[in-house]
Amino acid sequence: MAYRVFAMQQPSQRPRWWWWLFVAALAAFFITMPLHLELFVILEMSRFFGLAMLALSMGFLWGFGGVLSFGQTAFFGLGGYGYTVLALNTGATTGSVFFAIAFGMAGAAVLGYFMIYGRISEIYLSVTTLVFTLILEKGVRATSGDQYVIGTVRLNGQNGIPTVPQLKVPWNPSVELDINGFFYVGATLLVLVYLGLRLLLTTQFGRVIVGLRENERRTELLGYDTRRYKLGAFVLAGGVAGLGGAFYAMSIPLAHPEMFSLGRAADVIMWVLVGGKSTLIGPIAGVFAIEHFKGWLGTQGVGQVTLVLGAVLIVFVLVFQQGLLPTVGMLPEVWRDRRQVWRRILALPRTVAAVDWGVDELALLLVRRLARLIPGSASRSGRGRT
């Protein structure tokens, strides 16, 4: 069940002027970054771009399609390895990026066909995708021997392939992009992917995807072949994850089995959940926040990073269901109505406890009531009805 009521803007609406302004500002921010930031930040940001694409693929599929797939890391890894192996063999980096997208999509198509046309239930889908990515991880880890060679490239198992070719200038393949050039390409692609997914949500395809999340059976009874739409969304997300994988592999530079791992799958969920899964900008923000936080923790020597991350995950599931961005969005309203809000928050645990097994209708209602306090959530939109 998704509480899109917290979304800052209804995703099926055509974006308003301020949204375009926001995208332009974001793009401008990225463009000027190398001018005023130190080299290390540029390198870090380049790394985040690949991860942000992975987060976007998850945010789109989970937040809007209602499909919680742990397999995004699988397509991410496939993209990374696909790019690396092809680019090392052929030397053509631009084509290899497209191949990475196609490879992610192909993986998603095969797995998705199995699951979606087999009508596996929601939770089995989650577990099946998880098992899929684990199989890939185990498989790739087991390729340390020198007999595992594709073309001229050794897969190297556990070690991964550290010789990932850097992106070259598409129209002049003899020149490698420098650090700033790579940063620009990554930033552009991220903005494009975000833009594409955001606009996609306003199309019929996007609306049906949201319909799937809200009520799959109803969508089917309305005559939509839900399996096709679901598979479509799955394949699209697989492609985005594949692109992210290729970029990530270039940025660190390493294609390695950790890309498929359980830990990585947990990271993706954390980004999307912390950033806010009812938005598309949330997952991107989640990547930047969590990854920066993790990097910082590792230099502080405060002990187990997983301890902190586990606690963060629990707190977000229990308390900040909506993620940071939407929560921040409702803060002014909370302040204005603070007494009432407090009363409701205090009443929440008791209310939830009173709710019957299997039905959290009441909690839902409460959340909706809370949401009503926010301007724009139950917005009288400017959509013209002719």
Binding site: R4, R213, N215, R217, L221, L222, G223, Y224, L364, R385
Partner: protein
């Protein structure tokens, strides 16, 4: 009835859940243009029957023929495209999006982008939902959500509409309005209604089919059904009358 065209027919339809036969051999015939009511005590199999007609459940045995096509094994979306629309017992709407968006999803597929808006506007005004078109459906009262679903089904313009308890949770006024709406839609569309509210059924029904223990117990006009002793026993014995 036999002189009219049969649009929907089931032959020896059966549904077993483990050892229980929820539907135990139903031969059901529906003529084009009818407004049929299905009644029966709880657990008689009415909702199961509806779900099999719309492929939400697979029949264990038997056959369903709609408009000359065997749709026994068809996928749910195929059946919808053939022209059967259903409003389920529990309001089956998109709770997280607006009324308008709900109707849009229904109309867009059937009518294409340009005609859809006109159809939506027509339905909105007919159901008097214009004022709440931009409200999130999950925030509406139960009765209003029922109407939204009713609107989604009618905007599909199916040949047959199945309505499972369309007035549950409605006030008397709302019920009366629903009855009027159903009669209005029935001008162009064949309708089957499952209801418990006898008052409501008297308002709309011409032919009534009584389900009991997964079988058709009786099928007749409302007046005759009300006089039928077997039917009264079933109701009085089970749920104490309506």
């Amino acid at each position: 009835m036999s002189e009219r065209e049969i649009i929907l027919e089931t032959r020896a339809l059966e549904k077993r859940f483990g050892g229980v036969r929820a539907i135990a051999g139903v031969d059901f015939r529906l003529a084009r243009g009818e407004l049929r009511c299905l009644i029966g005590p709880n657990g008689a199999g009415k909702s199961t029957f509806f779900k099999m007609l719309t492929a939400q459940l697979r029949p264990s045995a038997g056959q369903i023929v709609f408009d000359g096509h065997d749709i026994t094994r068809a996928q749910a979306h195929r059946i919808s495209r053939h022209g059967i629309g259903i409003k389920n017992q529990v309001p089956d709407v998109y709770d997280g999006i607006t009324v308008h968006e709900n109707l849009w999803l229904a109309a867009r597929y059937r009518h294409g982008p340009r005609a859809a808006q006109a159809k939506i506007d027509e339905i909105l005004s007919r159901l008097e939902l214009v004022a709440i078109a931009d409200t999130i459906v999950g925030e509406l009262a139960h009765g209003q959500r029922q109407w939204v679903e009713f609107g989604m089904v009618t905007v599909l313009e199916p040949q047959v509409i199945l309505l499972d308890e369309p007035t549950a949770g409605m006030t008397i006024e709302e019920t009366n309005r629903t009855a009027a709406l159903i009669k209005e839609v029935n001008q162009t569309t064949t309708i089957v209604v499952v209801e418990h509210d006898m008052q409501f059924i008297r308002q709309i029904a011409r032919t009534v089919t009584v389900f009991h223990q997964g079988k058709i117990l009786a099928e007749d006009t409302m007046e005759n059904i009300q006089r039928n002793q077997t039917v009264r026993d079933v109701y009085l014995g089970k749920s104490g009358g309506a």
